[in-house]
């Protein structure tokens, strides 16, 4: 078949009616302090991993709130658990446990997640 160089671009839109938000609900049960996150970005500014990768806890919390877990699943293991974000967070979010809980939830839901994301 001829290859004309066309590709299909995936829809970037966050669609609340399609994306599942049960992962965030589970996260809130495991680490309720995540609910206080105000997306200020203090965690990201001090993050050791963010200096070398595109790790951003602020973004991952937001993505999970919107039900978009794919990017989170791909990147959540980049955290080195140094804990600087937890010292810096103005809202007292237990960031280390947030990241740890995300890792646990993602690992235990990996198959379902991949199916939902069409992987």
């Amino acid at each position: 078949m001829n290859n004309f160089g066309y590709t299909i671009t995936r829809d970037r839109q966050i669609d609340f009616d399609k994306l599942p938000r049960d992962i965030y609900r589970e996260l809130c049960q495991k680490e309720p302090s995540v609910k206080a996150c105000i997306s200020c970005g203090t965690c990201g500014a001090t993050c050791s991993a963010a200096q070398f990768t595109d790790f951003s806890l602020r973004k991952y919390i937001l993505l999970l709130r919107r039900g978009d877990h794919k990017e989170v699943a791909q990147n959540i293991d980049k955290c080195m658990f140094c804990g600087k974000c937890q010292l810096a967070c103005p809202m007292g979010v237990n960031t280390r446990n947030v990241i740890h809980s995300i890792q646990q939830i993602i690992t235990s839901n990996l198959i379902t997640l991949n199916e939902n994301a069409g992987i």
Binding site: R12, I14, D17, A36, S39, L62
Partner: protein, 336 residues
């Protein structure tokens, strides 16, 4: 006895009248509606402590002794300065002389019809913050046009505020906290409902506001999305599709909600007609100029004419009451 005419019988006018009267000044208060209290009559519960609006109104009313002459269903039809006095004629035929005038004409609620893209008056399930407050005041549960409990509600901040196209470049100051208050009240009525607030900036500037905002997030799970509503569409079932950008994620976002609440801002009162007759100046936002922004916020460019409350810009009830007392003092000093 010196005589002061207070134009506008809302929160500012009532409190200033009470204080002036206490200080031995003769006061006449003019209100265009059929009763005193202004916009406070339309509130159910007040931020920051959920106190019933009727409770504050009763407090204000207790200061309105019989020494204060009250003219309701009346407007100032003409006012003229003659030497150090003012000749004032009312629409009901009354006329009198005043030694000083206090303007406390407040604000009008922004007409949300003007933001046509949000569908107010066009879509069945788009209401304003004022409409929602009315529902609460009647003790009713929030229902969609078809009589169902909304499972998803979108609250839109800054409707008619910070909007150059609407002609209002300023912040209306109280809508952010009103949005959070009403979001919590919707959740209290229906804990299963999901509530989303669409904001540009959250302005939680005053005492207790930040606490209420945190309560909204942590206790009630209200979701805050940083992005201004760009379009709203009505679905066949009456629900409304909202489109915004989630600016913290840099992605477009789409959500279907059962109801939309527009946080209508404050605009200068249409009752400000006295300004031409008194040669009072207004700023580019349409609200009255004050004599000195820091030191003389009750004075105007005309000696003997004073201002208090939201006629000099959006403000909370607490600030309005403080301004009313401050204006009463300034008037008392002026009359000396």
């Amino acid at each position: 006895m010196k005589h002061v005419v207070v134009i506008g019988g809302g929160v500012a006018g009532m409190e200033a009248s009470a204080k002036l009267s206490e200080m031995g000044v003769a006061v006449s208060i003019v209100e265009k509606a059929d009763k005193l209290g202004g916009k406070l009559n339309r509130w159910d519960r007040l931020f920051p402590n959920s106190r019933p609006a009727s409770d504050l109104l009763a407090k204000l009313q207790s200061g309105m002794g019989k020494d204060i002459r009250k003219y309701v269903n009346a407007e100032v039809s003409s006012v003229r300065q003659s030497l150090k006095q003012f000749d004032i004629a009312l629409s009901n035929g009354e006329d009198f002389k005043a030694d000083a005038i206090l303007i406390s004409t407040g604000f009008d609620v922004f007409d949300a019809h003007r933001k046509e893209e949000y569908g107010y008056g066009i879509y069945d399930n788009v209401i304003t913050s004022a409409d929602l407050e009315k529902t609460f005041r009647k003790g009713e549960t929030l229902k969609t046009a078809s009589g169902k409990k909304p499972q998803r509600v979108g609250i839109i901040h800054c409707v008619g505020s910070r909007d150059e196209k609407a002609g209002n470049n300023y912040c209306s100051k109280v809508c952010c906290i009103t949005a959070v208050k009403q979001a919590i009240e919707i959740k209290e009525q229906n804990p299963e409902a999901e509530v989303f607030c669409f904001y540009m900036d959250l302005r939680m500037y005053d005492r207790h506001f930040e606490t209420i905002y945190k309560e909204a997030q942590v206790k009630h799970g209200i979701q805050f999305i940083r992005g201004r509503l760009s379009e709203a569409f009505e679905n066949a079932d009456g629900s409304v599709m909202l489109k915004a950008e989630d600016t913290l994620l840099g992605k477009p976002l789409k959500i279907n909600v059962d109801m939309v609440v527009l946080m209508a801002g404050m605009v200068p009162s249409s009752g400000n007609r006295v300004k031409e007759q008194l040669n009072l100046t207004v700023a580019e936002d349409g609200f009255f100029n004050v004599a000195d922004a820091h030191y003389e916020s009750s004075g105007t460019n005309v000696p003997g004419v004073f201002v208090a409350g939201a006629c000099t810009g959006p403000k909370t009830m607490e600030n309005t009451i403080n301004e009313a007392r401050s204006a009463a003092l300034a008037i008392k000093e002026y009359l000396r």
